[in-house]
Amino acid sequence: MKKEFLLSAALLLLCSLASGQIKTLQDSLDAARITAVREKMKNTTQTGLMRLDAKELKSGVAVFGTPDVIKKLQLLPGVAAGNELMSGLYVHGGDGNDNLFLLDGIPLYNISHFGGLFSSFNTDVIDNLDFYKSGFPARYGSRLSSVVDVETREGDMQRYHGSFSLGLIDGRLQFEGPIVKGKTSFNLGLRRSWMDLVTTPAIWYANRRNGDDQTVGGGYSMSDINARLTHRFAPGNTLNVCFYTGSDYLRASQEEKQYDQEGHRGENLMKIGVKWGSLTSSVSHQYELSKKLRMKNVLYYSQSTSNTAYEFRFWSWNEGEQITSMEDANKAYVREVGLKSDWEWTPNAYHRVRYGLSAQYHWYHSGRSFISSSPGADGTASTLEDSESMGYRSLEPAIYAEDEIFLRYNFTVNLGLRYALFKTGSKLYHSPEPRVAFKWLINNSLSAKLSYTRMSQFAHLVAAMYMDLPSNSWMPSTDSARPMTSDQVAGGLYFTPHKYWKINLEGWYKTMNHLLVYNGSNTFTPPLTEWEKSFTEGKGKSYGMELEATFDNGKLSLSAYYTLSWTLRNFEAIYGGWFPDRNDNRHKINLVASWHFAKNWNVFANWNYHSGNHITFPTHFIEVDGKKRYLYDAPYNTSLPDYHRLDVGLDWCKTFRNGHSLDVNLSVYNAYNHLNASMAFLETREDGSFYGMAYGLIPIIPTITVTYKF
């Protein structure tokens, strides 16, 4: 017995020593990772690239207890967030619908849950993320403003482990391990909101109290499933099968029974159901043919769907059994089947060549139906019934090649060309897109870079509002809606004065053509038939500079980002000249700090500031027939009050003897409860002077997340 006890104690001691060793090893790996990433960034010709790994994505403030990829990217320089708390990503003056989101190389059309409150990316399964704002490599195309390339993690080939997290409104489960040790593995991530588990019994209780006369129903749920299966045939020969599905479901209903004076019974009814989501699946094969040549082939399917339906019934009890009813349904989807083949060839020390081709076939569809019935004057029902739908099929093949050429005197140049075709109906567009990047390694700690890229986009988001609504739909370029294009020049200085320090200064100038903006009136959903006519075409430009300074020694991490930028639009049908964009935030500052101040403890904070978003206020008035008529000198002529917010958080981690651990994350969003303006109206004081009245909606939000890792 004593022997067994001693043996156990010795094992425990070894384990704890090993965990200490592992921790030390982890720290040194972290430091190595930081140095490696910096070296890579310094040595590449790439401008405008931010690389975030799983650890960075999971650390920091988790709004509602869920670490969010998009909210992380919103902190970066050159990016405007748009509406607070939403998943807006307006990169270098972009429109928010011009970002290429790739999950394991597969394009995602819908990247948010709950109107943009959360993004679709589950950080539990993400391995790394590359975020390109400029200098796009030739292998990327079909969007104007940015590329967000998210790679999920291969499952552990040796042992099973996972985690379970419970946040303020959702729960997450991640599990990975070998199927055949050393050869095949899986990685599975599940996420689901649990609000409906609380609201369902509450609604049931409320209905029970109300009796039969009034019944209410409703609930919201969202869920994600990520799965990745990896099989290694041999070193350098890997097959991956990836799957993702994410969905949101919102429903609300109210039924009310009423009686008229003669005791006839009737009912009023309201029912709303909204369901939307995405699904992607892919099979990819990576193969290293030789030390100089490797390839990756991917076959994939991606779809984004949305269904909305509502039904209203009003029973008019004063006029007998007459019913007024209204039913409306919207259904939209975009589906894509694609094939990509990417090759990398390193013939010698002076060239690194990448080339490949891709082809996508798209189905775009958006449909709407409407039935309305109301009692006519003669007592008979007058029924209005209508439906409209638009559908397109399109083919988008592209080829590309780029060569990174290492020249003398520490010069490197990357020459690339992407050539894309787009065919929809009888219309064929073609788009040659040159990509050029240039780097001069001035000395070991300083480099200068310059890049030029042309991008084109053949998909347009048909949306009337600045919100991520399920009724929004994607449509392709058509005869009258031309592909959008952008040209961007970016350059900067990249300085690494010390292994812990990094200072980057980048500037960009970007022009955008054939942008579309909704130009209709008073509707949440633009008409589908001839949808192009509800939009007007125009131009955009954006320029500015970004300064990034970071210090990271593995324990203390400090980052400061500053952006000075201008974003302008020119839509002839709206205004005869250039005017500021809604998200033309002149200054943006982000300060991010993280301190691993004690064993198991980590504290972090970030402070965000940017100049206010723009709104359109009248600037003048004239008097017509004794009445004031307000005039607007330009769109978006007024800035909302400046935005600022502090988020703080604390991580605590406890590792148990069995190797399992418990992580507790306490986050406070908007710690000093500063209500930032979301919308504003013009108001008049008693003395006749005017002022703006803005409305802030998002207060302090404390959240706690508990994660158990096993």
């Binding site: 006519g376 049908a573 003048h620």
Partner: protein, 362 residues
């Protein structure tokens, strides 16, 4: 529990009041010249109406004396009027004429704008028919243009109505009014309501856009035409007028409502033994003349008219929830617009209706 609810309510109230963030508006505060310059080929007039645009937050001033120049194809053209009044120029305009307007006044930045004269549309045919749908009888009118509208071309229609009502005493009263083209006759025909089909602003022929007087100009684009034909209903105005006439009928038992009264002047004594009534209150006939004015508009005119409509009615845009599409101006240094319109020769449609007698409405 009650106390808890009170605390929650108080918290909600505090949160709601804290949502309001008043802020000062940083605006340049510079007064500008607002210009409405309309070149109307049909009337052969170019009118320039400058006004003093007061910055928000300042007291409006008495209008000032303006000066203006007008250039057509680069040549200066004399203007009449001016000072505080509109400037006018009678000039025969042709398609493609380049029109430049410059207005200035002491202490105000000069306002400049330009437009190009649009071609005059030609109506080659007009037909109409009676259409019965459900319980409604309406008139459907078809206007055929010589050339089918193309993408990017802008049109508008204005319908003036002259109504002559003849009373039993032989007197005739005329009313002048405006109506709008009926988009659909029944709910079923209208389909899903598209607000883009109802863009209407008041337009006083060749003079001013966006005034208070009801003279609706309905904006049209290629999508509203079927080839070179534009079709619409005339029903609402008649229905309202007849309803009004019916309400104004004397309450005595005249037998009119029941029909059966012979038409003609009865000298105040109705047959059938009814009590004598005032013949000046009995309408016996109505003649309605519709004048259809089809315009071709320059882009500037169309965009400005659409912006006017949207600034009045697009509450989503005004709340900042959709793009701000109500700010159009092509006047540099000032506000307003310089635009061109050209009107086809008006088409007339006369509809005569007996108000008493068999098959009468009343």
């Amino acid at each position: 529990m009650k106390r808890f609810l009170h605390i929650i309510s108080l918290g909600c109230l505090l949160a709601m009041s804290a949502c309001e963030i008043p802020f000062e508006i940083e605006q340049e505060g510079q007064p500008k010249i607002y210009v409405q310059a309309i070149a109307d080929q049909g009337v052969g007039v170019i009118s320039i109406k400058p006004r003093y645009a007061t910055p928000i937050g300042q007291e409006p001033l008495e209008d000032v004396d303006y000066e203006a120049t007008l250039e057509i194809n680069g040549e200066n053209v004399p203007l009449t009027g001016g000072g505080p009044n509109p400037f006018l120029c009678r000039h025969t305009l042709s398609e493609g004429d380049e029109i430049s307007v410059k207005v200035w006044a002491d202490g105000l930045p000069a306002a400049e704008g330009r437009t190009t004269m649009v071609p005059t549309p030609v109506i080659t045919d007009m037909t109409w028919e009676e259409v019965q749908a459900d319980t409604i009888l309406a008139t459907r009118v078809h206007l055929t243009l010589q050339h089918a509208p193309q993408e990017g071309e802008h049109y508008a229609i204005q319908i003036m109505v002259r109504t002559s009502i003849t009373y039993l005493d032989g007197n005739t009263v005329e009313y002048l009014s405006y109506t709008v083209p009926g988009y659909a006759l029944t709910a079923a025909e209208s389909g899903v309501l598209n607000l883009e089909d109802f863009l209407q602003v008041n337009y006083s022929h060749g003079s001013s856009l966006g005034g208070e007087e009801y003279q609706p100009l309905t904006l049209l684009e290629m999508k509203h035409f079927k080839g070179n034909e534009y079709s619409f209903y005339l029903n609402s105005y008649d229905q309202y007028l007849l309803e009004a006439l019916r309400e104004n009928m004397p309450e005595e038992d005249t037998g009119i409502a029941g029909g059966g009264i012979a038409s003609g002047n009865t000298g105040g004594q109705l047959p059938g033994g009814g009590v004598p009534i005032d013949p000046s209150r009995i309408p016996i006939g109505m003649k309605t003349t519709y004048f259809f004015y089809m315009y071709r508009l320059s882009s500037e005119f169309y965009y400005y008219a659409k912006a006017l409509y949207q600034s009045n009615f697009d509450f989503l845009s005004n709340m900042g929830l959709t793009p701000a599409n109500f700010t159009y101006s092509n006047v540099r240094g000032g506000l307003g617009f310089v635009g061109a319109a050209s009107c086809a020769a008006p088409q007339e449609l006369v509809i005569e209706e007996p108000l008493i007698g068999e098959n009468a409405y009343l």
